[in-house]
Amino acid sequence: MVLTAPDPNKVGTIEDAIADLKAAFPNDVSDDKREGYGGVIVSADKLLEVASYIRDTLKFDYLSSATAVDYLGEGHHSNDHMEMVYHAYRTTGGSALVFKAQTDREKAELPSLVSVWRGADFQEREAWDLFGIRFKGHPNLKRILMWEGFYGHPMRKDWKEAFYESEHKPFDSRWPEGHVYRAEELNVFGSNVKYPSDIDLSRLTDKSESDLYTGFGLGVDMTHMTDENGIQTDELVVNMGPHHPSTHGVFRMVMRLDGETITHLEPVMGYLHRNHEKIGERNTYLHNIPFTDRLDYISSMGNNHGYVLAVEQLLAKGAKYTPPTYRTEVLRVLMVELSRIVNHLWAIGFWLNDLGAFFTPVLYFVQERERILDFFEAVAGSRMMCNYMRFGGVFADLPERIKSTMNLMNDRVRDFDTMQFLQEMINERIPRTIDELDEYLTNSDIVQSRSKGVGYLSAEDAINFSAAGPLLRGSGVAYDIRRADPYSIYPELDFDVAVQHEGDMYARYMVRLIEMRESVRILKQILPRLEYTKGESVTSSFAYSGKIPLGEAYGRVENGKGELGYYVVSAGDKKNTANPWRYHVRAPSFINLTPLGHMCRGTKVADVVAILGSIDIVLGETDR
């Protein structure tokens, strides 16, 4: 059965919804008429009503992304202002309803949408942290990526980091007149720090911790309780991370415990916040491709894909644009599906770590991963950071022969014919690994009793929390972007969307397992396509194009961890730009953490690590 893409231009879709919206709010909703922009602009004071209408009446029940843009100077279409951009989707499929709300830069304030979509929670906190937009009615408006007490809102266009050199890359020579100098030499303190000039060192307090714990009632009177036997107990606040082997990186959770039961849990992040977006806005468009590798560093191919899709949407707004060739798409799908398998193997392996099967299963999965990485290395030049895709193309076609080892028992490096290598890998090795995994784990009593019924998330909650990927599909929502809002050549490929209805950890495990099998199914269809497109070009004249037409674009893909979206704005006073004005990553790992506290309430401490593992996060993407 071959499904065809729902045609976004057909009746009953976005245009209808927008017309409906404008009819319902004639004075508060207007078209976004800027060049290359789409969607509607909603007046700030009606934002909450409009959002409820969009969710309840127009049935755009899924808020994919909410992010801020700072429009300041440089000949913009209108006055300087801050803007929140929301992308809402229907979980039945179709493209986005984009709506925006604008506010003043100095007194930036907008109503919070957490009461409509709880998935907006962390995203609004991020906008407050990095852009300084206050959200009226937000239940917990604290900084999320930086620490409480940090000086300024760093993503604002007029906030300059200590190592600031110039607005855009490429920078001037580091070798003026033959002498190199380092950024450190330009800073008094010799590192990238800057302080307000009225800094008062005598009254310096580290507010980052105290503010975090006040929410937990620490330092205030703790609630004293009496249990059923009349014994006096206290609630206890326990901190886990950022250095903890089960947090999959530098992630931290603070929880309040009653005995061993969690009564409240708050994720704390930002320990790997390495300013991806700020750097991305200084970079040229092309510069950003290797940076996307470092988001979800387990599946860098998928990250590349989302970004090039977004920039290709922008390129398509220009006059002379040719879409990528068929072989390009085939290669992209090949890489992305292999990455998905790597990602799921890794996720399941480390989830088992969290369940207590310490490192033994992982070793088997890492072994399989090594072989796929050999392939990536032969094609792209690097094991992990592939930097493979380009606008309108890919970096290079498959090589004739590749080098890899036969197996781990005999790790002499050998020379293989690429197609044979792929065939053997896709038809034999990967299915064998998946079968093995299935056989040992799926019916294991321990896995079942630890994971069934634990970490429950209902379908309604999953949608409302903007959960994505296996977390969403494990809760019974059959939403896979490859089918719901298709891109690349997925419409012509034959595969099913993996979905489980139990909403617990076991369901997520099953979704990953089925999805790997579906990926193999896709890869098997890719192999003949690779054969008969041999010789077709895979590069395009746009690949290294410096100039991108004006406009905004949101490119999203179904990555291993969920919906990965890139919101890219090309804005300025010229016809096209060399650097993105706004570059935002809708990171599934970040937004999937929104329901963590909800899922963990009432469970035991030991389950928390496993629930976190079943969400499958990667910190490079969570914190960006």
Partner: protein
Amino acid sequence: MELNLAELNRTQYPIPAELQNNVAITSLSKIYNWGRRNSMWPMLFGLACCAIEMIATASSRFDFSRFGMEVMRATPRQSDLMIVSGTVTKKMVVPIVRLYNQMPEPKYVLAMGACASGGGPFKEGYNVVSGIDKYLPVDVYVPGCPPTPQALLYGLIALQKKIDGQSIITSDDVPWYGVGPSDPTPIPILGPDIIDPRQMDMIRRQAEQAARGGTFAVRELPAVAKTAAALPAQKAAPAAAAAAPAAGTMTPEEERRAAALARKAARAAKSAGEAAPAAAPTAAAPLPGGSKPWEESHDIREQRKAAALARKAARASKSEG
């Protein structure tokens, strides 16, 4: 004392025949180091993308247990080696320094990858520490982004070589064989920006200067950039020439921008073929010399060595007295 070889053979341990009647001489340092270098326990501690390659190095294909390193410990109190595997952020450096302080000596730090060594691709980021060596003494730097498992193994072997060369009797090259514990690394504070306690004085001086109406955190341009700024950029960039004399009153951003402009001007002039005489003195100009505040108090090794020497001197004078 006379050495009776026959006696030596009559120990409670069986000695293989080919080793009997042999006397092997080694130094205490050597045998001690041999034990240590082959049981380096790294801390189970991953920061970013590099950690994934570290896990790959620990797994079956590359397997660093061949070098006695398989026991990765999650607690700093049981580990000898901190592999800083990834980007160090300002928020994270606080726990990292704490973890380092909790490691028992002798302890080593390996900076894995571009980020840990010097900030890497994210160096300019506002939340990024440009290299863990701004806070901790690093023993081995492994380049790469990420370093391949082979590169990491090479770095670990380099560390073993380094250990081989250390002596337990002199405290000159390692701080931990002196008397008493060495001082912990001061823990940074998350204020308006991260504050290294060792720089408190410098910040205070700057703040006082600002309070007196002076500049705050404005750094003299490096000699190079200054010479470029002072270039008589005739027709290439009058703007740069106009900006240059005002350097004293500019904010650091403006100043840097002026320097950039000046550099551009210099390049333009050069390409115009008339700047050769102007550029010549620049090429000969010394690198930013004199006081280098960014190097003021950074080498922890130096500090520790000085402290150790001072302690030694104190002991010596005490025993004399």
